[in-house]
């Protein structure tokens, strides 16, 4: 008699496994950003590892190139972030926030105008003590112990948006509608999302796995974004933190954000 339930599930499992595998094989042949086949050895590079990933952003360099959106474009292209064209339903992983919005406690009326009118690059802070992780009822978001990245399983998320409510930085986006028709060019190397799930910056964990730096870091023409291991005293991020005065977003909340800004 036809297929019984057990066999069907087995078969479905095999099909799915083959499907996923196939995509991965394809992924290794196709470049993230361009979608073109690549024949470089970087693909085979060993994963980038750290005890605590963190980023230092030099807003001075950022200000020198007003209107530059290279990092945003790169990130959104790599991760299939849709452009919905309206602020209500907007999905974004990284964006430019006005200075006051990004650093409400650092802002005052007589602040150097150049800074006051500037924009700060903001995205998920990959907090050491993330409120979003605490509130998630399904553990669809969690802090990876090995390197501190706040991860997101978009296949487990039920879309309750409690994490969106709990994030003090507005870093999380919900898919209010099917994003696929709004993606300019789908990157086959990274999954697209369905309506009804939350997403956010993942520090390019999928690229780190393949030995690549985050897309935004790689794309910045000014090298204003520096990514590295906070636990490694010799890392470039630690060097920058030693040499410059840096601030973080809303440090008083105790979330311990791991994005540092040179203002």
């Amino acid at each position: 008699m036809g297929i019984n339930r057990r066999n069907f599930i087995k078969l479905a499992g095999i099909t799915a496994a083959v499907g996923v595998g196939g995509k991965k094989i394809m992924g290794e042949l196709v470049d993230d950003t361009t979608g073109l086949p690549v024949v470089d050895t970087a693909q085979k590079a060993s994963p980038l590892k750290a005890k605590r990933w963190a980023m230092v952003i030099d807003l001075k360099k950022c200000r020198e190139k007003q209107g530059c959106t290279a990092c945003i474009n790169a990130c959104h292209a790599v991760h299939n972030v849709p452009d919905l064209g309206n602020p209500k339903d907007e999905v974004k992983w990284i964006w430019k926030e006005d200075f006051e919005g990004a650093f409400p406690s650092a802002d005052h009326k007589y602040l150097e105008e150049e800074i006051r009118n500037s924009h700060a690059l903001v995205f998920c802070n990959h907090c050491d003590n993330p409120p979003c992780v605490r509130v998630c009822p399904t553990q669809a978001t969690w802090r990876r112990k090995a390197d501190g990245i706040v991860m997101m399983d978009m296949h487990r998320c039920i879309g309750c948006r409690y994490c969106v409510v709990a994030c003090p930085y507005g870093s999380r986006s919900f898919n209010w509608r099917d994003p696929k028709p709004f993606i300019k060019e789908i990157n086959p190397d990274y999954p697209t999302r369905m309506r009804g799930v939350v997403e956010k910056c993942n520090f390019c964990e999928e690229r780190l796995d393949r030995g690549k730096m985050p897309a935004c870091v790689e794309a910045c023409p000014e090298k204003a974004l520096v990514f590295g291991d906070l636990e490694d005293a010799d890392s470039e991020v630690r060097k920058l933190l030693r040499e410059h005065y840096t601030i973080r977003r809303k440090p008083s909340l105790g979330t311990n954000p791991e994005i540092y800004y040179i203002v």
Partner: protein, 386 residues
Amino acid sequence: MIEKALTGSKQYWGWVGLLLILIGIGFLTYLRQFNNGMYITGLGRDVPWGLYIAQFTFLVGVAASAVMVVLPYYLHNYKDFAKMTVLGEFLAIGSVIMCLLFVFVDIGNPIRILNMPLNPTPSSLLFWDMIVLSGYLFLNVLISQVTFSAERKGIKPPGWIKPFIIISIPWAVSIHTVTAFLYNGLAARPFWLTAILAPRFLASAFAAGPAFLVLICFLLKRFANYDVGEKALAKLGEIITYAMAINVFFVLLELFTALYSDIPEHLHHFEYLYLGIGDANFLVPWMWTSAVLSVVSLVLLLVPKFRANKGLFLLACITVIGSLWIEKGMGMVITGFVPSPLGKVVEYIPTLPEIMIVIGIWSVGFLVLTVFYKVAMAVRHQIGYK
């Protein structure tokens, strides 16, 4: 027993028919949301929770308020509530069902809802809310079922039900406390970051819930010839008066803290609530209506002469419900998001589909209550309760 709900007057069927139509419209609208996504609501990136969660919050209170009749009747043996206790328990059941539906329609990916019980997460208050709400539903179904069928057979309820009744009392407090914790443990939202939220929720619940019960009693007297007795209603009136007065006191405490401390991130929310920020003033007329209604209700409730007047007492109950529905629903939930953590003032205005879904769910609740009360009345008339 349920067959008793299948016979009734034209009026009864007219009411049931109306509810079924509203449920149908709500359901079809929900299918639209289910198939297209929640962008058909007024919710968005800056205000991710709105009308649905507001109804949920309000109704958890109505559900919890059953304790206000259960406690005097079972713990203090207050006999005057004999005819009312089961009405309160049924109200709790209907309200919890509505609560669960409101959470369900607010979820972006409802087919994955089982991920919640499958991945129990004690750090999430939503997890605890699921536990306490479903537990409360179970307790009230069990207790009302056992006590009511005993009553029907003319025997005393079995002794083993007593512990469940006792547990249901703190459990009622827990559902509303956990619901307050859902909000007030978030560093991101200064408006909710206040320890008085849970007590305030309970006070408003113990005003709005019994006020609902009073309305139900009046309707049952009028349409089902079922009288809970003057004394019971008067006692409920006292409970409502205390609870409403305490609630208004708590709201004033919140206002004092925000206004006197003058901390902008606390103040801005109240500014949005009562004055509006720039063009963003959708809630302002609602909040002032709520404030006026609460003053009116307090005057009517506090003056014994007014409260003794049946018409004025009814009006008091309606103003209590109206005031709290606004204050605790829309006012409390939406204002937590305006301004946003990035200081943006983005207004939320519910859309028609959203409102239709809300009406649909309220209709489900009313239908559940109608059927329960119909059965209860029929049985009680049969066994000679008058």
